[in-house]
C-alpha cells in the first residue's frame, strides 16, 4: 500500500504551493517545493554543494509542468498602477493601469478554482429551500394555503422569492456567475491544452531520483542504443516520446485533460439547452372525452402556460381524436384497486391536412410530434345524460366529465343545461344538476356514496337538480365541475323535500311539477386528461449530458503521466540507465507501469555483471560514482512533516 501512497502524494504535490512566480504553471510550484527540499538535503550531505541547490530549482521545473491546466491563483491585489508619471497623461495612464489591473484581478478571482468551489457550494445550498417550501411552479394551491396559514412568514418568503426559488433573482445570480466562471475557466484552459498538444513532452529533470517512481541499473549497452530502444518501446506503448539531451522524454494520457475539458464544455451546452427550453417552453392541459378531439391551438386548451419568449405560432400544428380509453386495476390481494394499465387509443394527424394515423398513448409513452409531446396524465368517467323538458323534448344529451376525488374514482361533477330549456310556465330557464358518480356502488342501504372499486362494476349516478340562472354569462370564470347556486332554486317535490335520486344506467329521475326529466344513459364514456408540452432543446440537453458523462469518465479514469529514460556513461565507462515516472492523478498504476516499461528496456539492455563490486548490487548508494544523485542520501521526502 505504501507504494501507491507515495506515487499519489507526488501527483498532488504540484498544486500545493502557490507562491511560484508568474510564469510557472503548477510545475513551477513543484520546482519551488523541490528546491526547498534540495536545500534540506544539502544540509545533510555536504557533497550536494551549492550548485546542486540552485539546480534544484530547475530539477522538475519544466518536467513537472503542465501536467494539468488547472488555473493558478497568482494575482495579488494591490497597486497595479505602479509609479505615477507627472502630469495629466501620467495620471491617466496610471488610472488606466489601475482599473485594468483590478478588472483583471476580479476576473481571475471569478475564474479561480476557489470561487468555482464557493459557487458550487452556494448553488447546492440555494437549491435546498425550493425542495422544502411549496413552489408556485409545481403546486400553486399549496403556496396559497401556506400564505393563508403563515401570513407574515409568507410575506417574507414572497419578498425573498422563496416560492419560486429556481427562477428567483438570487438563484439565477448564482448559476449565471458559475456559468461565467465556467466559461472564463474553460476557454483559457482549452488554449493552454492545445499548446501542450502541439509541444513535446518536457526534457528529463536533472535528478530523476526525486520522482515518485524510480529505477536504475547498469548495462553494457551503449547509451545511444539504450535511448533508441527505450524510444521504440515507449512509442509502441503509445507514449509521445522524443530524445531530449541524454534522455528520452515521454508522455501519455492526454485524454484525461481532454475529457475534463469536454466535460466542462458539455456542462455549458447542457445549461444553455435547459435555459433555451425554459424560455420557449409551453405546457397546456386538455381533457378529452372518448370520441372527441383536440387540435393544437391556444384556444383549445383548458389551461396553458408558456415561457417568456414563447409566441403563438410556435405551436406545432397537429390534431388528435380519443377513440378509446382503457384502464385496468388489480382485482385481488392487498393492493386491490391499484391501477395496472392506462391506455388511450388515438388517431392523429400532423399539419393542416396530414394523413390520419393510429397510435396509443400510455403513461410512460407519450406521442411525440416534433418538439411537442402528448402525455396521458389523468382519466375519469363521463356518464352520458339526457335531459328532457316537460313536453318530452330532448334539450341536453351529452357525456359529462366527472372529476375523481378518490382513488376508487368516486367522482363529482355538474350538469349544466345552458339553453334550449323552457319550464312548464313557458319561460326560458337554465337547469343545473349536482352529480356524484361512483363506478362501483357499495349497494343499496350501505349508506355510502363512495366507490368501492375504480372499474365500472356497478355504476351509480346520484343527482339533485336546480333551476334558474347558472350565472355563466356574468363573465366570471366558472368551475365546470361545480354549480354556482346563488341564483338557482333547488327542485322540491309537493311536500317540500329536495328531489334527489341514485340512478342506475338506464334509469330516469322525474323533475317535479312536469318540469321534465333527466336520464342516466346506458353509455358511460371515459375521459383522458392530456398534457401537451413543447420544449425545444431537449435533444441538445441530452447530447450535452451524454458527452458530459463520457468526458467525466475520461477525466477520472485516465491518468496523465510522464516517463523519462536517461542513459549516460558512468565514470567507470559502464552505462547507467535511470528510469522515472511522474503522474498527476491519484492512481496506483504508475509504479507498476514503470516496472513493466523498465522490464522491456532491461531486456534490450540487460544488467551487466562485468567487473562490478558485488556490494553495490544491494546498496548502490554506497558507491557514489555509480549513482551520483543518490549519494547525497536524500531523506525519504515524506519523512519531514511539511
Amino acid at each position: 500500500m505504501s507504494e501507491t501512497t507515495a506515487n499519489d502524494k507526488a501527483a498532488t504535490a504540484g498544486d500545493t504551493d502557490t507562491t511560484a512566480d508568474d510564469k510557472a504553471t503548477t510545475g513551477g510550484d513543484r520546482a519551488t517545493t523541490v528546491g526547498d527540499r534540495a536545500a534540506t538535503a544539502g544540509d545533510e550531505a555536504a557533497t550536494a554543494g551549492a550548485a546542486d541547490i540552485a539546480g534544484g530549482e530547475q530539477d522538475l521545473g519544466a518536467a513537472g509542468s503542465q501536467l494539468s491546466t488547472a488555473p493558478r491563483e497568482t494575482a495579488v491585489p494591490g497597486s497595479f498602477g505602479g509609479t505615477r508619471a507627472p502630469g495629466v497623461t501620467g495620471r491617466l495612464a496610471w488610472l488606466g493601469r489601475e482599473v485594468f489591473g483590478w478588472c483583471r484581478w476580479f476576473w481571475r478571482q471569478l475564474t479561480s478554482m476557489r470561487i468555482a468551489l464557493l459557487l458550487l457550494f452556494l448553488l447546492s445550498l440555494g437549491a435546498v429551500p425550493g425542495s422544502l417550501i411549496p413552489q408556485t411552479g409545481t403546486d400553486a394551491m399549496k403556496v396559497q394555503e401556506f400564505q393563508r396559514t403563515h401570513p407574515t412568514l409568507g410575506q417574507v418568503y414572497d419578498k425573498l422569492g422563496l416560492f419560486h426559488v429556481y427562477s428567483s433573482v438570487w438563484f439565477s445570480a448564482i448559476y449565471i456567475l458559475l456559468f461565467v466562471s465556467l466559461i472564463g475557466c474553460i476557454v483559457p484552459r482549452t488554449w493552454q491544452f492545445a499548446g501542450q498538444l502541439r509541444g513535446r513532452p518536457p526534457a528529463a529533470p536533472r535528478r530523476l531520483t526525486r520522482l515518485p517512481a524510480y529505477t536504475t541499473w547498469r548495462t553494457a549497452a551503449d547509451p545511444e542504443q539504450v535511448r533508441q530502444a527505450a524510444l521504440g518501446i515507449l512509442r509502441q506503448r503509445r507514449f509521445r516520446a522524443h530524445v531530449a539531451g541524454d534522455a528520452v522524454a515521454a508522455e501519455k494520457g492526454y485524454l484525461r485533460e481532454a475529457g475534463n475539458l469536454v466535460f466542462h464544455l458539455a456542462l455549458i451546452v447542457l445549461l444553455v439547452a435547459f435555459a433555451w427550453g425554459q424560455l420557449y417552453k409551453t405546457e397546456g392541459d386538455k381533457l378529452v372525452v372518448e370520441g372527441d378531439g383536440f387540435s393544437n391551438t391556444l384556444l383549445q386548451y383548458d389551461d396553458f402556460k408558456s415561457g417568456s419568449l414563447f409566441d403563438d405560432d410556435h405551436l406545432v400544428p397537429f390534431s388528435f381524436n380519443l377513440k378509446k380509453f382503457t384502464a385496468t386495476y388489480e382485482r385481488t390481494g392487498p393492493n386491490k384497486g391499484t391501477p395496472r394499465t392506462f391506455r388511450a387509443d388515438l388517431t392523429y394527424s400532423v399539419g393542416a391536412d396530414g394523413k390520419e394515423k393510429r397510435t396509443a398513448v400510455e403513461v410512460n409513452e407519450p406521442l411525440k410530434i416534433g418538439d411537442a409531446r402528448v402525455y396521458l396524465v389523468s382519466h375519469g368517467y363521463a356518464p352520458t345524460v339526457t335531459v328532457r323538458d316537460g313536453k318530452g323534448r330532448v334539450v341536453y344529451h351529452q357525456a359529462v366529465p366527472m372529476l375523481p376525488i378518490d382513488s376508487n374514482e368516486t367522482s363529482q361533477g355538474a350538469i349544466k343545461v345552458l339553453d334550449g330549456y323552457t319550464n312548464p310556465q313557458g319561460e326560458q330557464e337554465q337547469l343545473g344538476f349536482a352529480a356524484f358518480f361512483v363506478p362501483t356502488f357499495a349497494g343499496a342501504g350501505k349508506g355510502t356514496m363512495f366507490s368501492q372499486f375504480p372499474a365500472l362494476d356497478r355504476p351509480v349516478l346520484a343527482l339533485t337538480g336546480y333551476h334558474g340562472d347558472l350565472g355563466v354569462d356574468a363573465g366570471v370564470p366558472q368551475n365546470v365541475y361545480q354549480l354556482d347556486t346563488r341564483k338557482l332554486k333547488q327542485f322540491k317535490d309537493a311536500k317540500g323535500s329536495i328531489v334527489k335520486a341514485r340512478l342506475r344506467p338506464g334509469e330516469t329521475m322525474k323533475l317535479p311539477n312536469g318540469a321534465g326529466s333527466i336520464t342516466f344513459d346506458k353509455e358511460i364514456k371515459e375521459w383522458a386528461g392530456f398534457q401537451i408540452v413543447q420544449q425545444p432543446g431537449t435533444g441538445w440537453a441530452l447530447t450535452g449530458a451524454v458527452v458530459a458523462i463520457l468526458g467525466l469518465a475520461g477525466s477520472l479514469f485516465i491518468q496523465r503521466r510522464r516517463v523519462w529514460v536517461r542513459a549516460v556513461p558512468g565514470p567507470d565507462g559502464v552505462t547507467v540507465v535511470e528510469m522515472a515516472g511522474l503522474g498527476r492523478s491519484e492512481s496506483a498504476r504508475l509504479p507498476a507501469e514503470l516496472g513493466d516499461l523498465a522490464a522491456l528496456v532491461h531486456e534490450r539492455a540487460p544488467t551487466t555483471t562485468a567487473d562490478h563490486d558485488p556490494d553495490a548490487d544491494h546498496d548502490p548508494d554506497a558507491d557514489p560514482a555509480q549513482e551520483p544523485d543518490a549519494a547525497t542520501s536524500v531523506p525519504a521526502e515524506g519523512a519531514e512533516k511539511k
Binding site: 391501477p339 407519450p366 532491461h602 546498496d619
Partner: protein
Amino acid sequence: MTLAAATELATATNEHLANISNVLIYSAMAVYTLAFFAYIAEWLFGSRSKVARTAAALTAPAAAKAKAPSVTVRKGGGTTVLERPEVVVRSAAGARDVPDGPGAHGGDEQGDLYGRIAVSLTVLAFLIELGGVLARAASVQRAPWGNMYEFNITFSTVAVGVYLTLLALGKNVRWLGLFLATTVLLDLGLAVTVLYTASDQLVPALHSYWLYIHVSTAIVCGAVFYVGAVGTLLYLFKDSYENKLASGGKPGTFATSVLERLPASASLDKFAYRVNAAVFPLWTFTIIAGAIWAESAWGRYWGWDPKETWSFITWVAYAGYLHARSTAGWKGRKAAYIALIAFGCWLFNYYGVNIFVSGKHSYAGV
C-alpha cells in the same frame, strides 16, 4: 386449466416466494449478526498487539528517518532469467511517510483467525441476502425496487457485494468489515420493521425500463458512496491521530489501539477519493436516466421535484468534493468534510425526501 385457476396458482406461488424471501432476509440478518461478533472478536484480540508504527514513523529522531531510497539492482541470478529492475517508490512533498496499520487483527494470530471467520460469515450472509432479494424479485415478477423495503435490502446487498469484491481483488479493505456489518444490520433492521411492504406490483408510472436502469444505478451509487463515506470518516480520525502524534501529543489508549491498526491517513484518503471518483460518473448517469424517465412519464425532464432537487444537490456536493481536491487550500480535511456533507445529502435524499417531503416520487411505499 381455466384462466382463473391459473391466476390463482400464480398468486399462490408468489406469496410462497415472498415468504421464502422474508425467511432468507431474516436468516441473512442472523448470519450478519454472527459476522458482526466475529469482527468484534477480531478487533478485541487485535488490541493485544502493541504495534505503534505510526507513532514510530512520526516521532522517531530525524536521523533515523533519513534513510536513502533503497535502490536495488538485481543480478540476473543464473544467466537465462532476466529479472526486472526494482522500482523505488517515494512519497512526495507535503505528505507524511506513515506505514499502513496491520488491520483489525493487529498481527494477532487469533484475531486474524476471527477476522477470516468474519469474512466467511459475511460471504455466507451476502449469498443468503442475495437469495432473499432474488426471491423477492421473483415473487413480484419485476426488479425488486418498488418501495423502500426493497431499496433497503438491495442497498445493503450491493454494499456488501462491493466490499467483498474489493477484498477479492486483493485490496486492503478488511478494516471496513465491522463498520459495514453494523450498518447493514441497521439497514436491514429498519427494512424489516419500519419499511416492510407486502410484495406487490407497480403502478403504471413505474412501468418503464428506465426504472430498472435509474433505480439500480441509484442503489449502486448509494452503496458505493457509503463505502467512500466510511473511508472518509476514518481518514478524519486517523489524520487527527497522526497530527496529534506529529505535534508531540499523546492520544488516548483506545484511540491508539484502534487507529494504529487502520491504514495510514493518506491511504484512507486515497481510498475514499478513488471510491467516490469512480462512482461519480455513474451518479451523473443515474440523474440523467432519471431525467429521461421523467421526460417520458411526467412531460418534463427536469422540474425541481424534491427528489430531483436533492439528487442535484448531492451531485453538486460531490463535484465540489472533487474540485476541492484540486483547489489550493482545500485538500485533505476540508475536502473530506465536503465528502461527508455530500453523503449526508444522499442520505437525506433517500430517507428524508421519501418520508418527510411530498413530491412526485412519493410512491416509495413507506
